[in-house]
Symmetry: C2
Subunit: 255 residues, 2 copies
Amino acid sequence: MCQLLAMNCNVPTDIVFSFTGFAHRGGRTDTHHDGWGIAFFEGSGVRHFVDHQAAIASPIAELIKHYPIKSLNVIAHIRKATQGQVALENCHPFVREMWGRYWVFAHNGDLKGFEPVLDGPYRPVGNTDSERAFCFLLQQLRDRFGDTPPAMPVLRAAIADLVAIIARHGTFNMMLSDGTALFAHCSTKLCYVVRKYPFTAACLADEDLSVDFSQVTTPNDRVAIIVTTPLTTNETWTEFAPGELKVFVDGLPQS
Amino acid sequence: MCQLLAMNCNVPTDIVFSFTGFAHRGGRTDTHHDGWGIAFFEGSGVRHFVDHQAAIASPIAELIKHYPIKSLNVIAHIRKATQGQVALENCHPFVREMWGRYWVFAHNGDLKGFEPVLDGPYRPVGNTDSERAFCFLLQQLRDRFGDTPPAMPVLRAAIADLVAIIARHGTFNMMLSDGTALFAHCSTKLCYVVRKYPFTAACLADEDLSVDFSQVTTPNDRVAIIVTTPLTTNETWTEFAPGELKVFVDGLPQS
């Protein structure tokens, strides 16, 4: 199974600390060595890095760990191949444009017999169940709403409906963002923490590293981190319920 | 005006040498400091790097100069903003998926009054004339050929037709690739060189650096480099004619 990491904030924040721990799961503290990727929204633009090398051995992962790219929405993924060979086109996250916005998607799990009819403009380039699911999601959203994105409550309900359809085929933990919100769906395993004032120190579970967030934040900052398994040993992580879709905006899960 | 660089080869080749000279035009030997970007095809996957910092100051450009990513098709761009502010979403190259392939596009020039009706699935995320032209091209290709890509001669004729329509609005030097071929159109300024056996040494025009290609190639290798102005001082560069579209496959311009 793969591992997922996402961040959603109310002010542009770098993910260096969390990514450093996460990247160690790509070949060191865990066995996810079939590629990795990360996408950062910056305004409406996206920086997208993928590599078929293990995150622990990748010069690009090394760059990300030392280059504080500030972003409101980030999605990262470390791959353990279940379907599709180890190749760049099969590395998550995947990016497509719809409604004049980029959409970023990553998936952890394994879908069986998921072969939707893809007759719209979104086609997989690689051969993973995950990219098929992403193309299906976008095709369905475009079929339902045409050329104009609906209001958030309507969009959220549609995505909840669609991920439930996909999840009938197997495990479908997934992250999706259009740069304004982060949608996270849990089939089996996902948890989150909201870091906000008063900030404290956090210690990584995967590396002997801690950071005192009170030194690098303002009282108004709010950062939600969503991940497959907790990244730190001294913060309280909230588990998702199986089948739950949460939407994060400005660093907070929406009720 | 911006600067363009592309590479098309018959064996996966790194672009470190040519990119090193090219990147110096982003803020050192020339004044193109409003961002830059590069996209590498690797199989059917794409590595896409964009940055709104000048190439000369960018840590990501530094990585590319030292990390030999091997690719059959590469497109790079250094931006001097004419339309659209300096922002990540306005950095070339742009990437979209069509027909289950990624398409990569970069443009040098300035289009006046080019406001095509974009009612298909490809919409600009940023606000440049260039991204509008790219979306128009893809929309028109999809309108003409539906869900199935045509044979190369038909595709080439369609692209030649469409770039001529766009070029009526101004300068439209452009590079386009779907990972199998590289399409290069010249309005005003573009030249190319084909490096092949017997390989010799080449000296960069923008930096005191030379490389002896005979040391790093086999007799079967063939590499076409297409660029706004010649990158080296001791190779014979062939200029495009104004209005000319060339298609490069396996390191050779197709007749």
